[in-house]
């Protein structure tokens, strides 16, 4: 029996790395700024001041959670914009000061926001090195080190990978950058780290840090770039000087307040939540590996954040499995979605050396703040059944 629409039953949401249920605290914090407190924070009157006060309070909270100063926090429309501003802004600034510094080093399995920005810089004449990652899902530090020299303008390495959840050796890489390319700008995309790790400590060695609100129960279209004092970026848009000129445009106060509230709640509950969710995740992983012969996990379990499980089922087409799971009320994902909504084979798994067939047989199950024991119970009931159904039918 296939697809009856998932709206008819409760949904088990296992796609928190894509986005999360907004936290009630964030929604509540935002509401006044979507209704009566509507001022443009750049204005000079009472209505504007109310907005400006809230904005700067939010900025202070965000800064504190990220271990930054308030004037180092640049609010953006999300992680992608922040990544683009970081890479292109830093590369342009460095090359403007010294035309000989025209190299960019990124991890091979960065988020597309970083990889596409690097590609654009390549078209602009920069030389881009994509540092290899190993089979565990960790960047090869030696390979990255070899790529470092005086000509490097920017190094970008994600704090946690978005598909396999592995924590990257950012502080070791930072040491190497200081030693071999001391004037390079070090950027890290910490979007997937923020829900689970002490992001202030983790990202301390980086000059520029990306975060996103909707991965931690905040609103979509909201993110921030920490730009530490002394780091120069060239703005990627022109306008009225807001956000220290780095991100012109009327600041979205509601988004900033929502980000602050979500980040605040995340920080306060982080340790307890990470322990709770990793227990759920481990139970899910164990249950799936036991129930599905030959199933395997992608990404080293020892270096994974709490919410991530990336699992492959031999001989199962992930796209087929996701359709069946959706029909049974389980939301999961695989690879990355393109603009049409089609799923493309995971560049992350391929970079880790998985064969195309194994990459196509893998799905990503990500838990988050709203995940429950019941979710795992249901998932353990549904997923093995779906896998079994597909494998039993497909060789008929």
């Amino acid at each position: 029996m296939p697809p009856s629409p998932s709206r008819t039953r409760a949904v088990v949401y296992l796609d928190h790395a894509a986005t999360t249920l907004p936290r009630p605290a964030a929604v509540e914090a935002m509401l006044p700024f979507l209704t009566r407190v509507y001022g443009n924070p750049s204005g000079a009157h009472g209505v504007a001041r109310a907005a400006k006060t809230a904005l700067e309070e939010a900025r202070e909270q965000i800064a504190e959670a990220l271990g930054a100063r308030p004037d180092e926090v640049v609010l953006t429309s999300g992680g992608t914009e922040a990544d683009g501003l970081a890479l292109k802004g830093a590369a342009h600034a460095v090359r403007a000061a010294d035309p000989a510094r025209d190299r960019v080093v990124v991890g091979a399995f960065e988020h597309k926001a970083v990889l596409s920005s690097a590609q654009r810089l390549e078209r602009e004449g920069f030389e881009v090195t994509r540092a290899a990652v190993d089979a565990r899902g960790v960047v090869e530090v030696d390979a990255l080190a070899e790529a470092l020299d005086d000509r490097v303008a920017v190094v970008s390495l994600m704090a946690v990978n978005n598909e396999v959840g592995t924590v990257q050796p950012l502080s070791r890489v930072a040491d190497l950058v200081r030693e071999r390319a001391p004037s390079a700008v070090l950027h890290t995309d910490a979007v997937q780290a923020t829900p689970w790790l002490d992001v202030a400590a983790l990202t301390a060695p980086a000059d520029v840090v990306t975060i996103s609100a909707h991965k931690l129960g905040g609103p979509k279209g909201s993110g921030a770039l920490v730009v530490r004092r002394g780091t120069r970026l060239v703005p990627q848009a022109d306008g009225g000087g807001q956000e220290r000129g780095l991100r012109p445009g009327t600041v979205d106060v509601a988004s900033a307040v929502g980000l602050a509230a979500a980040l605040n709640e995340t920080t306060v509950t982080r340790e307890v939540e990470a322990a709770r969710v990793s227990t759920l995740r481990d139970r899910l992983a164990r249950g799936l590996l036991e129930a599905c012969p030959g199933a395997w996990c992608n990404g080293d379990g020892a270096t994974k954040v709490a919410g991530n499980l990336n699992v492959g089922f031999p001989g199962v087409d992930a796209q087929t499995l996701l359709v069946v799971l959706d029909s049974l009320g389980v939301c999961a994902s695989a690879g990355s979605s393109c603009s049409s909504g089609a799923i493309e084979p995971s560049h992350v798994l391929l970079a880790m050396g998985l064969g195309p067939d194994d990459a196509r047989a893998s799905i990503r199950l990500t838990l988050g703040w709203s995940s429950t024991d019941v979710d795992v119970d249901t998932a353990l009931e549904v997923i093995p059944r779906a896998v079994q159904r597909i494998t039993s039918r497909s060789r008929v």
Binding site: M1, P2, P3, S4, P5, S6, D317, Q319, T320, V323, V324, D326, S327, C338, S339, S340, G341, A342, I343, E344, P345, R389, I390, R393, S394, V396
Partner: protein, 339 residues
């Protein structure tokens, strides 16, 4: 009641196919195939077409998915298409897409997903005879697509539904308008879906080497030169590029020597055509069949003799690579690819 996966292209026919199946009480899920990852603004799998399909599915309150088969499409349809042209053949990519993708991979995937059947918006019918289900011409003869489905036989047709083949195109659009579907007045897709700019010659030229060669007449005399045989199709009259008094046709293409042979219309006539990949859906093929050699051409009488079709009257040569579909009245009894 069955559970049916409808391949929704974002056009009016497949939109109405989904609606009709719902009205008949089936459980319906829509799926749009993303087939082409190349630079496509207006092709079959552009974002706006996927969006149309998604919106129609939402209007019909059915789930909708996008299935990425770009690698398989490239392997099974686009690459053979380019190779065929480069080899002097004239392929029909829609036929290969139906064979390998829509009624191959998609049918398999739908089965794995637990669906009973796959439906499309093709203008053809599945008719049930005592000898099992067969493809038959659509009610709207001007839109009939049974030719490009000639390969489907009783083995798979039990799992295929073609609901719009029972309607003429006007009725399809009327039905879409009645339901307020956004695709009701959408223009028909034309041409080859993966060639969205620059035309066929440019597309092939970018993917296969164009070897210049000579143009000869049927006696072997050189009458000109050409930039590559991938630009020609057997039977074509225009663009031979040779200034001769009377009308000239391409009568043969020889890839190994890059030779184009031209001749008169009489030089093109053949009493028969050999088939490769012949499929016969019925143990009892009638002595005389209707032979159709192009998508919208009129059928002519002929006889199947082994893997050769002998025409009652000599016909202009069928370009190698083209489909030869065999009918008994409205019903497809088999077919193959011209040698």
């Amino acid at each position: 009641m069955s559970t049916v996966l409808v391949a929704m292209s974002g056009g009016v026919d497949s939109s109405v196919a989904a609606a009709l199946l719902l009205e008949r009480g089936h459980e319906v899920v829509g799926m749009t195939l993303k087939l082409w990852g190349g630079p496509s603004d207006s092709g079959c799998c552009s974002v706006s077409d996927v969006e149309d399909a998604r919106r129609v599915a939402a209007q019909l309150r059915i789930p909708h998915y996008v299935l990425n088969l770009t690698d398989e499409f490239d392997r099974d349809v686009v690459s053979p298409y380019v190779d065929d042209y480069a080899a002097g053949r004239t392929p029909n990519p829609c036929v290969e897409c139906n064979r390998h993708v829509k009624f191959g991979l998609l049918l398999d995937r739908a089965h794995d997903m637990g669906f009973d059947a796959v439906a499309t918006g093709h203008h053809a019918r599945v008719v049930h005879t005592v000898r099992g289900p067969h493809i038959a011409r659509g009610i709207d003869r001007a839109k009939d697509q049974s030719y490009v489905l000639y390969m489907l036989g009783p083995g798979v047709l039990g799992r295929v539904m073609l609901p719009v083949g029972e309607l003429d195109k006007t009725a399809v659009r009327d039905h879409a308008r009645r339901l307020g579907l956004r695709t009701a007045d959408k223009a028909e897709s034309m041409d080859v879906c993966f060639i969205t700019r620059g035309g066929r010659e440019q597309f092939i030229g970018e993917r296969a080497p164009m070897v210049p060669g000579t143009i000869r007449d049927v006696s072997g005399r050189v009458v000109g030169t050409h930039a590559g045989i991938g630009r020609f199709t057997v039977g074509q009259r225009r663009r031979v590029g040779v200034a001769t008094g009377d009308r000239r046709y391409v009568v043969d293409l020889d890839a190994p020597t890059a030779t184009v042979t031209i001749g008169s219309r009489d030089d093109l006539l053949r009493p028969h055509v050999g088939l490769e990949g012949l499929v016969v859906h019925d143990a009892r093929v009638p002595d005389v069949v209707d032979v159709q050699v192009r998508a919208h051409g009129a059928p002519v009488p002929g006889r199947l003799d082994g893997t050769t079709v002998r025409f009652a009257n000599a016909q202009p040569r069928v370009a190698p690579g083209q489909v030869v579909a065999l009918y008994d009245g409205d019903v497809v009894v088999g077919g193959g690819i011209a040698r």
